[in-house]
């Protein structure tokens, strides 16, 4: 610990940047630490970030949250564009609305419903978690070291979000296809 006291944050960062540059074989001539160097090539990147398969349902939820957030954003933009057709009067509005009356339109809307429900319910779980709610208590760890933050409460939240999204989608499809 004592040795750590000697080095303040910034000094440490600069020293490290230089030594990182050493690894890309270019010597220490480049001083920019942010540039993508060969040494940085082992960063998992977007593919590694997305990979939902390796780290349990929590990582899947993280991935679905991103996907649904971006999907909703895309829908939101499309939605503004769509509703702006009202400026062309009733004809333009009806014409545009007809798109949603096709089979593809129904399926698209059902996906939007699913994204909306999952994003909202999981979003509430994530916000609670971010506030330290339901993540367990600190305690002396014991083998086999099962992490308390990856607990049934949050798993239940994730599964609830998925199930509610599925129910909402099925209900939406039933209404739209008039079953």
């Amino acid at each position: 610990m004592a040795s750590v006291d000697q080095e303040e944050g910034d000094a440490g960062r600069e020293a490290g940047t230089d030594s990182q540059d050493r690894y890309d074989g270019a010597g220490s001539s480049s001083s920019s630490g942010s540039a993508k160097t060969a040494a940085d090539g082992n960063r998992a990147g977007v593919g590694g970030m997305i990979n939902p398969g390796r780290y349990g349902i929590e990582r899947v939820a993280y991935w679905l949250m991103r996907l649904s957030g971006l999907g909703l954003l895309a829908y939101f933009i499309g939605h503004i564009y769509e509703t702006s057709s009202i400026l062309q009067g009733k004809m333009g509005w009806d014409e545009f609305l007809a798109i949603t009356q096709t089979t593809e339109g129904h399926i698209l809307l059902a996906i939007v419903i699913g994204m909306c429900v999952f994003h909202t319910v999981n979003g509430i779980r994530v916000m609670l978690g971010h506030g330290g709610v339901g993540v367990g208590r600190a305690a002396r760890p014991d083998y086999p070291y099962i992490p308390a933050s990856q607990n049934y409460r949050h798993k239940l939240g994730i599964y609830t979000a998925i199930v509610l999204a599925a129910i909402a989608m099925m209900y939406g499809l039933a209404v739209m296809f008039g079953v």
Binding site: D5, S34, A39, G41, M49, R54, E58, Y62, V133, Y145
Partner: protein, 267 residues
């Protein structure tokens, strides 16, 4: 073409009591030649107690000495031997071949760290980020004024206060959490779960008085707010640190949620 350890071990899998696996080792030497990257296969005999590190050392001993690997303690204490084992960050010395249930074991350098050679990665960024959160008890020097020479000053702590942070003090700086983290995968400036959990280790310590300066470091766009609570860090941590818990408790504390226990009873 797979090389084989221990002459006479003709075929893979079961041969009498001795079993064999294929160890696929990622080879690269970026400083020397960034174009030659690939895998070398080795057939290695193993027992019920053989660890992945044992197998790698067996390769070094009898098949190919040039394989680069870093290790020291062989008992999950030094934090040197982290690597991707069948796609997941693990300690090579703490992972038995038997438990992987796979006839081929692929070992690659830890993700999100620069490769030095083969399985050895550079930990400069890990240690820098760790230093940045001021990982030591912060007290005023003036508190020691008036303490007679040769005498010690104690900062007493109750077992309950110890319980608040002892879990996070288990960290061996192996970097597995940073390798699993999805934010770390794309953001090279992110402090990472290791450093953030250590920030909580000191914020949660009743003896510490450096909370303000420490929180200033992590209250940054590449600091604590970049965590999405995907939890992968905690799933791979070999010491039960549960960095995701530390980060959420710390964030709860910073947001004033009350979910974070922080440490409100500083003396």
């Amino acid at each position: 073409m797979a090389l084989q350890a221990a002459a006479g071990q003709a075929s893979a899998q079961q041969t009498g009591t001795q079993r064999t696996i294929t160890l696929r080792i990622a080879r690269s030497n970026p400083a020397h030649d960034s174009s030659t990257t690939g895998f070398d296969d080795f057939d290695v005999p193993y027992e019920k107690w053989t660890t992945v590190l044992d197998a790698i050392l067996e390769v070094k001993k009898s098949l190919d000495h040039s394989v680069a690997v870093r290790y020291s303690c062989r008992q999950a204490t030094c934090g040197s031997c982290g690597m991707m084992i069948n796609g997941r960050p693990r300690l090579a010395c703490f992972t038995k071949i038997d438990e992987l249930n796979s006839s081929v074991i692929t070992v690659e350098p830890l993700q999100n760290f620069p490769v030095i050679r083969d399985l050895a990665v550079g930990f400069d960024s890990l240690f820098e980020n760790h230093r940045e959160v001021r990982p030591y008890l912060d007290r005023e020097n003036t508190e020691l004024e008036g303490v007679p020479d040769g005498e010690l000053k104690e900062y007493p702590q109750s077992p309950e206060e110890l319980e608040q942070y002892i879990q996070f003090a288990n960290c061996i700086k192996c970097g597995l959490c940073n390798a699993a983290c999805p934010t770390m995968a794309t953001d090279s400036s992110f402090l990472g779960p290791q450093a953030l959990a250590q920030a909580y280790r000191y914020v949660g310590d009743s003896r510490d008085k450096g909370k303000d300066s420490r929180l200033k470091v992590i209250d940054d766009s590449h600091g604590i707010w970049r965590c999405h609570f995907a939890g992968s860090c905690s799933q791979v941590c070999p010491k039960g640190v549960d960095p995701a818990m530390g980060i959420q408790l710390l964030r709860g504390y910073m947001l004033g949620f009350g979910g974070g226990s922080g440490n409100n009873n500083q003396k």
